[in-house]
């Protein structure tokens, strides 16, 4: 698989082969600016490789047309960013429910157990947030740590097969990092989701089934501008 950002041929990511099994918890390690986020964008089908293929749940996502790829992402992925995960103007509950507007399957998954709002509250409570108190607040009024947990709830709602996290804990202190990851593992485990997380922090490796260094699986070329 080979990819370079359109318009900037300076950066090229080249991966011979890399696979993750269902239900695995994988940590991708690499320095900042080392192509980790690019790899996540490729996995989530936001960008497509120029060469090679990316199989997700049996679909070559690079071959799928744009609109269908967005739907595919909505159906099968939950994504947590490093920070600024939430729509600041929307309420906490609306933020958690956001993916259900784009995925019918995940909505159906939720509605089997009750109303979407109840499920959102349940997830928030499981992640240690008082849903009753903060559910109606605007997302921007929460602390960073709380926002990350709301983002986790959003990624998990409707039980997507794959949860992708891009340095979700880097804005948290050590103690909170561990708490957050434990909650995340617990919930991805309960949902049966695969978790792929990237970080530059090698100390997190002990918590995962498997950790992979990005430079071991990928060749990154940087041509000077």
């Amino acid at each position: 698989m080979r990819f370079s950002w359109p318009g900037s041929p300076r950066f090229t990511l080249d991966i011979k082969r890399f696979s993750v099994g269902n239900g695995e918890r994988v940590l991708l390690l690499g320095p900042s600016g080392g192509g980790k986020s690019t790899l996540l964008s490729l996995l989530a089908g936001i960008v497509s490789p120029q060469k090679g293929r990316i199989d997700i749940l049996g679909t070559d996502i690079g071959r799928v047309a744009g609109g269908a790829r967005d739907r595919f992402r909505a159906e099968h992925f939950g994504i947590i960013f490093q920070m600024f995960n939430l729509l600041p103007y929307a309420t906490v509950i609306d933020n958690v429910l956001l993916p259900l507007s784009f995925s019918e399957r995940r909505r159906a998954n939720v509605e089997r157990g009750g109303t979407p709002a109840d499920e959102a509250c349940r997830l928030l409570e499981r992640l240690g947030l008082p849903a009753g108190e903060i559910g109606g607040l605007r997302a921007s009024s929460l602390s960073v740590g709380q926002q990350q947990r709301v983002a986790a709830a959003r990624a998990l709602i409707g039980r997507p097969e794959i949860v992708i996290a891009d340095e979700p804990t880097s804005s948290l202190d050590r103690q909170r990092q561990k708490e957050f990851l434990e909650l995340l593992f617990e919930e991805t485990g309960a949902a049966g989701s695969t978790l792929i997380m990237v970080s530059h922090d090698e100390r997190l490796a002990e918590l995962f089934n498997r950790s992979v260094r990005l430079d071991e699986i990928a060749k990154i070329e940087r041509s000077r501008a």
Partner: protein, 419 residues
């Protein structure tokens, strides 16, 4: 659905800038619709000034000029028509009634109209409304005067007050008819027509005050007293114009031709409606310019709104990336911003229309009193509705500019927005 909800929530978070954009659009809509309302209102007022009169006859001139000086008291007659011509036209078999009008003097800037008491019964306006007296009655003596509502109100005259008519049309008159003062016998109700700004006297009175004058100045040594004048024959030699009512409207063109071909002197007969149409043709350029300016203001307001959205675009890159990450297509991002622009414009248009109608409802009596302009509080016209729809569509389309930029960015950024 989600797009509309998100756009609404996003706008609510930026309510101040959003409100300002809405206000800018609202005021531009007020201006655009207001100009149109005033334009149609002014036309209506002009058209309402005279009704029931089939023809206006005066010395030969352009139709607009004759209409302006005879009915609207704007400008001057270039020439008079003789009393003999008046009599002959009045006696044509198709003519039901005729009213002579003699203009040329003024009282403190208000024009003096010499006419007959028939003026009060035959002159009608706004459909078939007739003049009526707020106080007193029509003139009966030579030196009686009837005041229009504005004249009485602005100069503070009451019944039985004495007024002196100035010679000529200036508001400060160097020559006046001070030897022959008039007594106010009647004050008319407000009509919203130039009659409000007119002093009406008998036709004989115009003759009486000029009896000892020649070529626009008093003749030295000749001073005929007011008492002596009453004994004289006050039939005028000439009048300025005449209003004509016909027995049948079918005869209009026959009488008009007869007047235009009148052999004894060059005369013109005009149809008030046709002359008004001619007038609209003249002022149409100014109206178009006014409409163009207000359309420009609407465009400016829309550009302001697009600028507002564009400036928020950078800080909202993250928002776009989040939406993309949960599965929103770039098209949804495009729709979100275009919807935002559309909703702002819609809000502006609704607010603007509301403002305008509220303003008309509140200020209507005052505008009518101050300017004689009757702005009807009517349901929006087809033109207004289509224009308003056009503005909303234009706003939505204008929103596509920032939306398309966001679309391109969200394709290029993917999820890796560096904040």
């Amino acid at each position: 659905m989600i797009v509309i909800r998100l756009a609404l929530q996003s706008l609510r978070a930026r309510w101040l800038t959003a409100l300002l954009s809405v206000l800018a659009i609202a005021f531009s809509v007020v201006l655009l619709l207001g100009v149109e309302k005033v334009r149609t209102g002014a036309r209506q007022s002009f058209a309402d000034t005279i009704s029931g009169t089939d023809l206006i006859v005066g010395a030969r001139s352009g139709g607009v000029q004759l209409l302006l000086y005879s009915v609207f008291r704007i400008g001057n007659a270039t020439n008079n028509m003789t009393w003999q011509s008046y009599k002959q036209i009045a006696e044509l078999p198709d003519v039901a009634w005729s009213v002579p009008m003699s203009l040329g003097d003024s009282h403190q800037g208000f024009r003096v109209l010499g006419t007959t008491p028939e003026f009060f019964t035959h002159y009608s306006y706004r459909g078939d409304q007739q003049l009526s007296f707020a106080a007193g009655a029509a003139f009966s003596d030579v030196f009686d005067a009837v005041l229009g509502a504005d004249v009485a109100a602005q100069l503070g005259y009451e019944i039985a007050d004495s007024i002196v008519i100035g010679h000529g049309l200036g508001s400060v008159s160097f020559l006046d008819h001070g030897d022959k003062p008039f007594k106010v016998t009647g004050i008319l109700e407000k009509t919203g027509t130039p009659v409000d700004r007119t002093v009406l006297v008998g036709l004989g009175a115009i003759e009486a005050i000029h009896v000892d004058w020649q070529r626009g100045a008093p003749v030295p040594g000749q001073n005929v007293s007011a008492a002596d004048v009453r004994a004289m024959d006050l039939t005028p030699d000439s009048i300025t114009a005449m209003l004509v009512g016909l027995k049948s409207r079918l005869a209009i063109f026959r009488v008009q031709r007869a007047v235009n071909e009148y052999a004894a002197e060059p005369l013109s007969a005009i149809l008030p409606g046709a002359a008004l149409q001619e007038l609209w043709g003249l002022v149409g350029v100014a109206e178009t310019a006014l409409a163009a300016v207000s359309a420009m203001v609407v465009v400016t307001a829309l550009i302001g709104m697009v600028t507002m959205i564009l400036t928020t675009l950078n800080e909202r890159r993250r928002e776009m990336a989040i939406l993309r990450s949960v599965g929103a297509s770039p098209r949804t991002v495009l729709g979100l911003l275009a919807t935002e622009a559309g909703m702002l414009t819609l809000a502006g248009v609704i607010a603007g229309t509301g403002f305008l109608y509220a303003a008309i409802a509140f200020l209507r009596p005052w505008i009518d009193r101050a300017y004689g302009l009757n702005l009807p509080l009517s349901v929006p016209t087809w033109w207004e509705l289509t224009t308003l729809c056009g503005i909303v569509i234009a706003g939505f389309l204008a929103g596509l500019v920032p939306a398309f930029l966001a679309y391109r960015r969200s394709l290029a950024d993917g999820m890796t927005v560096r904040v």
